[in-house]
């Protein structure tokens, strides 16, 4: 298949204008010895054939049965209107709005996205997006370093922060000569507060944490106070669906709220493209990274939107930029905005409550199964179940015999958490599915 409109006749005419006899000749600057190599690729397919090939691959991925996996990527119902919005050519096939006069659709949509994220997190400013929750967390750490003007090199990570996020923070900052600590032991907010020193730039906590546990608003406020007392920033990584019902980080005293926005109307899609949301207090705006849309007026005085504070960015400041980010996750942010617009505060709260009730129902049922127990404390829609056998074994049986995708095997990242499964329930898990899971767990656990 070729998507090239020009024909041989067109090319002949153009070559004449250019004054060259063949297109091959246009590449004379390419070293002759390297020009036109053979490419060992499978033969070209027509659209019909390529879709058939894709279908063959798609069928080999389990995706129709019940699924209780979360651990940073969540299956939620996406109202049809969301895909309608992001499928519109005018959004999908435009690029970064470098020409605001013919990009007001994108710019206003981003401005609205920022406003919704700010309100959802209780923060004052949101950027236009980062790549995902993990990189957004790393960018938050870098922002904290910049706020401290390079004077503080300590970063305290909670052990409850998603292991991928902790790894990405380390990858991002490996050249920066930092001390990244805190996550070697599973401690509570007060211990974290204690490890904050005068060289700490920020403390990063996740809420609900990777194990599903909720840090209460009062604990969070106490932590924030301690962090602030040490002159550092409190970065919180939050689940945006949970904010349909839970106290937002802004109210609990956090300085930065970041996280994975995938749950907001983005397909789970094997891990991406997702959405790193990034919100913070206004005072830090000049140290922040990523694009920000702002309101202004046009030549005739009409309201309009532009990207603003670009002097923070790489295309102006180059090596002094707050980040290297250029292409971000704009269409995913649009999906999140359309999702939040469709859900509204009522719908989002209802979904959050359904998650809560279903997860708690599941936890109670599982706790009652012989050989199983469930971790204590408040949680939102994820919880840790202690199982009578290795999780890998259980999951294999769940999949093979019941077509169920079980929870996350925590021993993959935490060798000491043998036989611990991280389970997630959302509005997509019906009672029937949960009961089915429990029956299967009971059978598998004792079989």
């Amino acid at each position: 298949m070729s998507f090239i409109p020009n024909t041989d006749a067109d090319r002949a005419r153009m070559l004449q204008t250019v004054g060259t006899s063949s297109t091959a000749e246009l590449f004379h600057d390419v070293p002759a010895s390297h020009r036109f190599p053979t490419l060992d690729l499978p033969p070209a397919l027509s659209e019909q054939e390529v879709l058939a090939e894709l279908d063959r691959r798609a069928r080999r991925n389990a995706h129709e049965g019940p699924c209780f996996l979360g651990a940073g990527a969540y299956r939620h119902f996406i109202p049809s209107v969301v895909d309608y919005v992001i499928s519109r050519s005018e959004f999908a096939t435009a690029y970064t709005p470098y020409q605001p006069e013919i990009s007001q659709g994108t710019l206003q949509a981003i401005f609205e996205y920022q406003s919704m994220i700010a309100r959802l997190t209780g923060m004052e400013v949101s950027n236009a997006s980062h790549y995902d929750g993990a990189t957004s967390t790393a960018e938050a750490v870098i922002m904290a370093l910049n706020v401290a003007q390079g004077e503080r090199r300590g970063v305290v990570l909670s052990a409850g922060l998603h292991p991928h996020y902790r790894e990405v923070v380390r990858t991002y900052t490996q050249g920066m000569k930092l001390e990244v600590t805190g996550d070697d032991a599973d401690t509570g907010p007060s211990e974290l507060a204690g490890s904050c020193t005068s060289s700490t730039a920020c403390v990063v906590v996740q809420n609900p944490d990777f194990f599903g546990r909720i840090i209460s608003p009062s604990d969070m406020a106490a932590l924030a106070a301690a962090v602030h007392a040490a002159g550092a920033l409190l970065v919180t990584v939050v689940n945006p669906i949970s904010l349909g019902v839970l106290v937002p980080p802004g109210e609990a005293g956090a300085d930065v709220a970041v996280g994975e926005g995938q749950s907001l109307g983005n397909a789970i899609s094997f891990g991406g493209p997702y959405l790193g949301f990034f919100a913070f207090r206004r005072e830090h705006v000049r140290k922040s990274s990523g694009r920000i849309a702002g309101e202004t007026v046009d030549h005739d005085g009409h309201r309009g939107f532009v990207f603003t504070l670009s002097t923070r960015e790489q295309h102006i400041r180059r090596e002094k930029a707050t980040s290297n980010i250029c292409t971000n996750q704009s269409l995913n942010a649009l999906a999140a905005a359309a999702y939040l617009a469709a859900m509204g505060p009522g719908g989002l709260r209802q979904v959050a409550e359904l998650c809560w009730h279903k997860a708690h129902y599941a936890a109670r049922q599982i706790a009652a199964l012989p050989g199983y127990s469930v971790q204590d404390g408040e949680f939102f829609h994820e919880f840790v179940a202690r199982c009578p056998r290795p999780v890998a074994e259980i999951n294999r049986r769940l999949q093979e015999k019941h077509g169920i995708i079980g929870g996350y095997d925590l021993s993959l990242n935490y060798p000491d958490r043998k036989n611990q499964m991280l389970l997630c329930c959302t509005e997509l898990n019906s009672r029937e599915q949960i009961d089915g899971l429990c029956a299967a767990l009971s059978e598998v656990g004792n079989g």
Partner: protein, 488 residues
């Protein structure tokens, strides 16, 4: 007649969705945990649809017409890509599913790793980075890690030509290295004298964009890469312009040690108003162990699955000396699906045809605009793009910006403005291969007309655009007042 903000359309009690009712017993949510208010807009489904449709109508897009935004490869992206990425068996799978239940997706990724390696002449590929800049960070960290692994910790400088994109120096800084600027010579190549002068034992590497942002293939490429290697450095390739040499040359065989591919540009993901993208990174063999992971590895043998009792063929593997993850999970899979689809529909010949047509289109435009606008390197054959200058004889106060804005009135998206920084009043023009001759001709006609208007009626340009949904916007006010949220 602007479209109101969603917040302005909000009325208490309206809702755009219904949520299923609870089918399990309730569990109390402790009041202390609950937020008191959530001031999101309250609108009906019809309001959502109309709002975004009306906003959409304020945008220009590739599906509407020419979008010659240099360096961005705004080609037409096949509609089948959108169908592919939305197949339930690809869009509804969880990244942490057991590999035995995701072999189709992993095979697709393995295919893509192999195809990109083949196309670029690399040994290994990681699909994890989310965009070009992300790939750059990976590449520089890999270079750094390679030196470190050899115990060479003095190499702290990355040489970056002055024509480079801003992401290159920015990525260098993020990686904890120092960016050192190298000027270009009069033919638009890397200035060899300066390069030689800067190469020493502090050189970690060179970041080379080739074809570069002037749209030129560096005439001394092999010499450059050899010089860097000889000095103990590595060469990073910024693959943003790879569309020009797709199937024409393999960077990995020409001395590029590590390179990112902007899959969203070259391999056709619609740019989404600014993303998502994918910055897949290819490396030569010596660097393979440093890639971020996990990548997909094949055990060879059958296509076993848990069900069939045999071990699954594809598995996750983290390279032994990996710089670490740069993203949660495995990469922007939806973008990868599109790239896979695109490559499979083209095959080797089809890919080369893309480059040939992209380059022909650019040279045609360059030839035809030569008499209308100054083109500093117009004497050379350009690659997929070229850089003209927004200067018109007899119209001293006309700038690149004015010409760009006036092009809007003629129904075109303007070229990239003021980049690369080394060309004053730069207008960087990349037509891509998906534009036809008639469209190119009508663009030339518009520029020609505008050049005449510039002399005869300069205010037409200064006050342009005239036909767009809004007129020129006050960026100073935006930065000064900094209103970045509704009602905020």
């Amino acid at each position: 007649m602007g479209e109101p903000l969603l917040f302005e359309k909000s009325r208490p009690g309206r809702a755009g969705v219904s949520v299923p009712s609870r089918d399990v017993p309730a569990t109390e949510i402790p009041p202390a945990l609950q937020r008191q208010s959530l001031p999101l807009p309250e609108v009906a489904e019809v309001d959502v649809v109309r709002h975004y449709l009306r906003l959409a109508h304020l945008n220009y897009c590739v599906d509407e017409g020419l979008y010659p935004l240099g360096s961005c490869t705004m080609k037409y992206n096949p509609k089948v890509n959108e169908v592919a990425a939305r197949l339930p068996g690809l869009a509804r799978i969880h990244p942490l599913q057991d590999p035995s239940t995701a072999q189709g997706a992993m095979e697709l990724m393995a295919d893509l790793q192999a195809m990109i390696a083949e196309i670029g002449g690399f040994h290994s590929v990681s699909l994890q980075p989310s965009a070009g800049a992300h790939g750059e960070l990976v590449g520089i960290l890999v270079i750094k890690a390679w030196h470190a692994a050899r115990g060479d910790t003095k190499r702290t400088r990355i040489l970056v030509p002055d024509s480079a994109h801003g992401t290159n120096p920015a990525s260098t800084t993020m990686a904890g290295l120092e960016a050192v600027e190298i000027p270009s010579d009069s033919r638009g190549n890397v200035d060899l004298l300066h390069l030689r002068a800067q190469l020493d034992e502090r050189t970690a590497g060179l970041m080379l964009t080739n074809p570069n942002t002037l749209g030129l293939f560096d005439e001394n490429l092999l010499q450059i890469t050899k010089l860097v290697h000889d000095a103990g450095g590595l060469v990073y390739g910024d693959g943003a312009n790879f569309n020009a040499i797709l199937g024409v040359a393999k960077p990995g065989l020409m001395g590029i040690d590590v390179m990112h591919f902007n899959l969203h540009k070259t391999f056709s993901t619609p740019h989404g108003g600014g993303g998502p993208g994918s910055g897949a990174v290819g490396v030569v063999q010596a660097l393979a162990d440093f890639l971020p992971g996990p990548v997909v590895a094949s055990r060879g043998g059958g296509t076993g699955s848990a069900r069939s009792g045999t071990a699954p063929r594809y598995e996750w593997r983290t390279p032994p000396r990996s710089i670490g993850r740069v993203k949660s999970f495995h990469g922007n899979f939806g973008v990868l699906v599109r790239a896979w689809t695109y490559i499979r529909m083209h095959g080797a010949e089809g890919l080369r045809a893309i480059a040939e047509n992209a380059v022909l289109n650019a040279n045609y435009l360059q030839a035809r605009l030569a008499g209308v606008l100054p083109i500093p390197h117009g004497d050379r054959t350009c690659m997929h793009e070229f850089v003209a200058q927004g200067k018109i004889p007899g119209a001293p106060d006309i700038r690149a910006l004015d010409i760009s804005k006036r092009l809007i009135d003629y129904g075109f998206h303007p070229p990239t403005n003021y980049f690369p920084l080394i060309v004053p009043e730069a207008l960087m023009i990349e037509p891509t291969e998906t534009e036809n001759l008639e469209t190119l001709d009508s663009f030339v006609e518009a520029v020609t007309t505008i050049a005449k208007e510039a002399v005869a009626e300069p205010d037409l340009l200064h006050e342009a655009p005239h036909t767009s949904p809004v007129r020129r916007l006050d960026e100073v006010k935006a930065a000064r007042e900094l209103k970045v949220t509704a009602g905020g």
